[in-house]
Symmetry: C2
Subunit: 369 residues, 2 copies
């Protein structure tokens, strides 16, 4: 089956902050900036996809009305923390299927979004708050693979360092390894500086069919790999050291574009907590299982910023519905050679890894210039 | 551009009621019945799309976990009252683009869903509640086209009559024209029996690529036409007698399958209020503008039930996220010659018309056996 190619051409974002603002207002400002930057005529915009865990309804139609477009497709797409990449996959599908040509995907959430707590069935008891599964993951990885406090601290240090070069990051402060290890303990295995911070933010990208992308951009970035998977919670399987949905999503994405993990020059991975980055580089195939910490240490010692150059979620903050879009925007900037101080030299292939709720769902996107 | 064909093979639904139930529970029961009826192996299900205006998050992943499937795609899709058909269009896109082969689209809402009031900007003032725009539409149509109380009452009578043959309908009571005209006045132009009733309900359909549809169904129904449009509110245009988004969606859907309106044998149209059915048959092209009432009267006098055979929203009730799925399910039953007492003889082409918020968004689907 031959798919029609789909491209990302432009992006726009707010700074991430703790601002209290109407969800529609923050989206409008970013969408308007995106339209201005991309010089796309409004009458060509035939899709507005919103990614958010806000309770506001009919947001895409409200935005359409406010900016004066009459899209064919206007919906909100929600899948908790991976809402952003799920909306990008939907945009891919609409365009690839020929139902639309020019789609704005805009993701936003406020620091206190109702999506911040996953109110699932009571039987999960204490696992309602993400810190608990992250603690379980951390303890399990330490036990099985001798992952150390120092290994975890390197992830946090590197991502905070990187975020200091990201103009949109919530937290631009940098920390020493000691400050991280000695930061406030939340659980036995989690310090505050190992956690991403829920915040307010909005990011948007412009997705186009091939004809339009070539007409409106000199550097369109092609979506060549898509993998998605939803599994039962990892912790029902007596194995808390790998994220099955991420492994399956990665396999599907690499298979779609016939690439191997070592070809990826730059990646944004879903470091909701430090342990997630170590597990992600393993489950995505960048490092062998159990060698994620060693892999990350080696990159750190050689000043190689290919993983989470914008600072990941730990450094940039986590405005839930915006996160997947913001990750993708970073990879687009990298592949367009437009990432400023964060630029990875000669980046040709980039990867986005976005997940939800203890890695029960994962999305992997592979992009190329 | 050649699209891959997409089919609907099976369906399942609850009765519509005023039941107070957990949104996830009602969805689970319907999805399980659908899987049982269709005999589809669970490992082939690669998409779960939820249509709902509920505030519950991550519903598709929760359902996946509970029924034991590991889909590639699991998201909630929201666009108020047309969430259902928007989710079906998304399923079409995923399958047509080759990202999935077998998708369950499940829509549900409770009678008191937060989607029942569209909390838009304050500037719209009294138009927050749907009854007000429906009153404006009614008054305008009466003034311009001499539409009468009797014309409106016929729509309500016919749809209540039809619902009495729909096992899933909320209200199976039938009414005389006099009872309708003399029912409780809500505004100058709207009686209670001209309004659809928000209720609790869940409907689901199974959507498949061509290979799978032919393997698992002897009567797969093909989605041949899709049209969608979102416009600014009709009432900003000084014309309250037509629904621009419906006109544009219909034009696009008919153009996609190269059919004309007169070829449609059976249609479910979005009669949120009686006036909407009169306007819809005009804006979909079944009747000339201003002749919707005459067209409807003629069908009624000749016992022709081709419009809203299941009783529409007025007869069946309106469980918001389920409505578009339930409408589509009726058309699938009709085209599979499986609609029992409601069967339209020799139905070959069917149409679904679903809309949101004073017709600011509309979706039109055209199906064939």
């Amino acid at each position: 089956m031959k798919m029609n190619k789909v491209f990302i051409t432009n992006y726009s974002s707010t700074h991430f902050s703790l601002q209290n603002i109407e969800i529609k207002s923050i989206m409008l400002s970013v969408v308007q900036k995106l339209i201005l930057n991309s010089r796309i005529p409004k009458n060509l915009i035939d899709g507005i996809l919103v990614s958010s865990t806000s309770d506001s309804k009919y947001l895409a139609a409200q935005i359409s009305e406010s900016i004066g477009v009459q899209p064919k497709i206007s919906v909100t797409i929600e899948n908790l923390c991976s809402s952003g990449t799920n909306a990008i996959v939907a945009a891919f599908a609409y365009i690839s299927a020929g139902l639309a040509n020019v789609i704005i995907v805009v993701g936003a959430d406020l620091y206190d979004t109702p999506g911040k707590i996953f109110a699932t069935d009571e039987s999960r008891g204490n696992y309602k708050h993400p810190i608990f599964w992250a603690s379980l993951f951390t303890k399990a990885h330490k036990r099985k693979y001798n992952t150390t406090e120092y290994d975890l601290a390197i992830i946090s240090k590197k991502n905070h360092d990187n975020a200091s070069n990201n103009p949109y990051a919530y937290n631009k402060k940098t920390y020493t390894i000691n400050e991280i290890i000695n930061s406030k303990k939340i659980t036995d295995d989690l310090n505050i500086l190992h956690c991403s911070k829920l915040c307010t933010g909005c990011s948007a990208i412009l997705v186009m069919s091939e004809n339009y992308a070539k007409q409106f951009s000199e550097t369109p970035i092609c979506i060549i790999g898509i993998g998605q998977n939803t599994v039962s919670p990892t912790f029902t399987k007596n194995d808390l050291t790998s994220m099955e949905s991420t492994q399956k999503a990665a396999m599907a994405a690499f298979s779609m574009c016939k690439l191997i993990p070592h070809k990826i020059d730059v990646a944004e991975v879903h470091d909701a907590f430090s342990i997630c980055e170590i597990m992600a580089v393993e489950d995505l195939g960048f490092a062998k299982k159990g060698c994620g910490a060693t892999f990350s240490n080696e990159l750190y010692q050689t000043n190689n910023n290919k993983i989470n150059p914008r600072g990941g979620l730990i450094g940039s903050g986590h405005p839930i519905g915006a996160t997947g879009i913001s990750q993708t925007m970073e990879i687009v900037q990298q592949l367009q050679n437009n990432a400023g101080k964060r630029q990875i030299h000669n980046a040709k292939y980039g990867l986005v890894h976005n997940m939800s709720a203890a890695a029960t769902s994962s999305t992997v996107l592979i992009l190329t210039s």
